[in-house]
Symmetry: C2
Subunit: 132 residues, 2 copies
């Protein structure tokens, strides 16, 4: 059983390799730009500066065969089932990020704060942040 | 540009049709069970009662052509770009849910509190809740 994801855009970032990436956003991720494909731009018409968004990405460099891992790649931590970790390596490598919109240009480019993914990472979905 | 999701399991729920579904989890969603496929069960070995999880589902009944919508299906609210809403109808209908684990049986069935998706909904990913 499977489904096909159609990417709605991609991330433009100064992070060009995995070595550039902080482990987590609060460890110093740079601003990045969400470049939305023309066919999906109608869907972002109401996004504006200051919005808090949940961003879903496709971590295209990740190993999808991972079922257990050391959290944070720290081998001093015990091997753990992957669904109890935020490892990018996992069967469906969807990244989940909370970002704040800095600006929107041309209804196509959304600049956001603190995003720790590689340049070129595909974008799967954007949702407003909810308080539950 | 696209990618293929392999479902890791499915939701067992008393919600058998869209008419049964509350609009949001805090409006009275029932407990549900996450049934994990055998090939992915190693990945849930460390999940236990009390854990707070982020659950990603594939809302298989959703209309993927939606780019604008009335929030909460309320026609008194203005038409809004879909990425500023939590509409299930969206280009990649991934549901994002926060649940608490009630119990785990046979390292295969995770009972969770308050989940507002239909019986049979495919499961895409499970992550621990993070405080950011």
């Amino acid at each position: 059983m499977q489904a096909i994801i159609h990417f709605i855009g991609q991330v433009q970032s100064s992070l060009k390799s995995l070595d550039d990436c902080p482990r987590q956003a609060n460890e110093g991720a740079p601003e990045a730009t969400l470049e939305i494909e023309p066919e999906y731009q109608q869907g972002i018409a109401d996004i504006q500066a200051g919005d808090k968004l949940v961003l879903l990405t496709w971590l295209h460099m990740a190993d999808r065969e991972v079922l257990t891992t050391h959290p944070r790649n720290d081998t001093s931590l015990p091997v753990t089932g992957v669904f109890s970790t935020r490892s990018p390596g996992r069967p469906n490598p969807i990244g989940l990020h909370t970002v704040t919109v800095v600006s929107v240009e041309d209804n196509a480019h959304i600049k956001v704060s603190g995003l720790e993914v590689l340049d070129g990472t595909p974008i799967v979905d954007i949702k407003p942040v909810w308080k539950d």
